[in-house]
Symmetry: C2
Subunit: 262 residues, 2 copies
């Protein structure tokens, strides 16, 4: 289970996988000749030795298959605050991010990784350029560009650095839905990995579909929570993933991005 | 990971959940007021204290919600041999099975639980009656009734004990597909739980749909394995679950059972 603050529940029990246990599992995959991965996805990580072990795993998989795609969600915090130990940031910046093919920071994480204040569209795109310069081909800024957003809406940005050095940037605007739900970031990056593969490199198309799925998921979750008597209970706010499985597989709504010319 | 013999792989690494760890997780669910389960599903269990702990969990969930449905796959062995420690059998028979609403033994497990030789349709249905007498409403005999099967085919039996004491029995005959794949039992019982809920108590309809999904899954897995150069590799025999997701959600083929009148 995750840390108390992160899970939203008042009690946390159970075990966390240690870096030694991760290494043992990886050793088992190696011994059985099962290391033929095409994609790697990482999310929240709570300590520095585990994060360093993840870097080893990513390097090893990429050495075995140079075509393997690493989608990294550099989960560190939001709204100006860390919810992972802050000493993870330099490891992300110097070791993990340079290995990533796709990075999905929010505004806070993008700012920390680049040492910039990121709150406008302009500063966002400048910071994204710094990420591209570290070797990351695709950057998706998932949320938090406060000064660029209209009331009742959120913005999301995609930026692709082409092999010839050109950069293609797209802005997505979508409705802000009420409620704070745990796990939306994980749902977003998981869907993104699948859609990028489906859409054969068309990042804007992929993100437009992912946002459609996410809107349906959050809307259903929010409506369910509001209809409960005990609507303050954390359990009532769990993402309605199973109930939304059709929207996750085939979104009914698709968002259209707007190309940004600089 | 599972035991070596069971997984089919030459090396086994990683950690098993202990009964103390299960208890701690359950305690966390209790403290956070999350014990509102509608269904319980159990499968392979490798040691006696863990199995006894499962019995405690099932009793507790049923006390909280008497409508909760317990689907139990009493995984013990197949083809005349145990692949769990044999001292689990009396715990299944005396403690676990009487708690089950749905039991899914194969012929070997049915024989061990009832102390009978189960190899004909007649002995199968007699043994199933003994299971009903322990309080189990629905029994699905998944495979292994050797003397009842035609060449190239397998049989599956459902038996429902109605509240008035009547018993409704149905025979399903379906093609035997080549290859030994690990995890088919888990896929079967998981699908069964979902379809029983979908079909609102129509067990024969539910099983007919589950068998349709399973045929598609095994056929796809078998074809994939045969098309690989290194077709002896265990990795090539992994169930093609993701590739079969549509067949699992909505089976294209549905098997029709035949009512057995005694």
């Amino acid at each position: 289970m995750l840390d108390y603050k992160f899970s939203g529940y008042s009690h946390v029990k159970g075990q966390k996988l240690t870096d030694a246990e991760l290494s043992e599992l990886y050793e088992g995959l190696k011994l059985n000749d099962l290391l033929h991965y095409t994609h790697i996805l990482t999310g929240y990580c709570g300590n520095i030795t585990f994060l360093q072990r993840i870097a080893d795993v990513v390097k090893d998989i990429k050495q075995r298959n140079p075509q393997a795609i690493f989608v990294c969600d550099p989960v560190m915090g939001d709204n100006g605050h860390y919810y992972c130990p802050p000493d993870l940031m330099p490891v992300y910046r110097d070791t993990i991010v340079p290995l990533a093919d796709v990075l999905t920071p929010n505004a806070f994480e993008l700012g920390e990784l680049t040492g910039m204040q990121v709150d406008t569209e302009e500063s966002c795109l400048q910071a994204v350029n710094k990420i591209h310069a570290l070797g990351v081909r695709i950057v998706v800024v998932t949320s938090g560009i406060e000064k660029a957003q209209k009331e009742g809406h959120l913005n999301c940005y995609t930026s692709i650095r082409e092999p010839n050095g050109d950069t293609v940037r797209t802005r997505f605007v979508f409705p802000r839905l009420d409620g704070a739900f745990v796990g939306t970031g994980d749902a977003f990056t998981s869907l993104l990995l699948v859609r990028l593969d489906d859409c054969n490199g068309n990042v804007a198309e992929a993100v437009g579909q992912v946002l459609g799925s996410m809107q349906a998921l959050i809307r259903r979750t929010s409506e369910f929570a509001q209809n409960q008597v005990d609507s303050n209970s954390r359990a009532m706010c769990e993402l309605r993933l199973i109930e939304s499985r059709k929207d996750l597989l085939v979104p009914q709504q698709k968002f259209q991005g707007e190309r940004i010319e600089i």
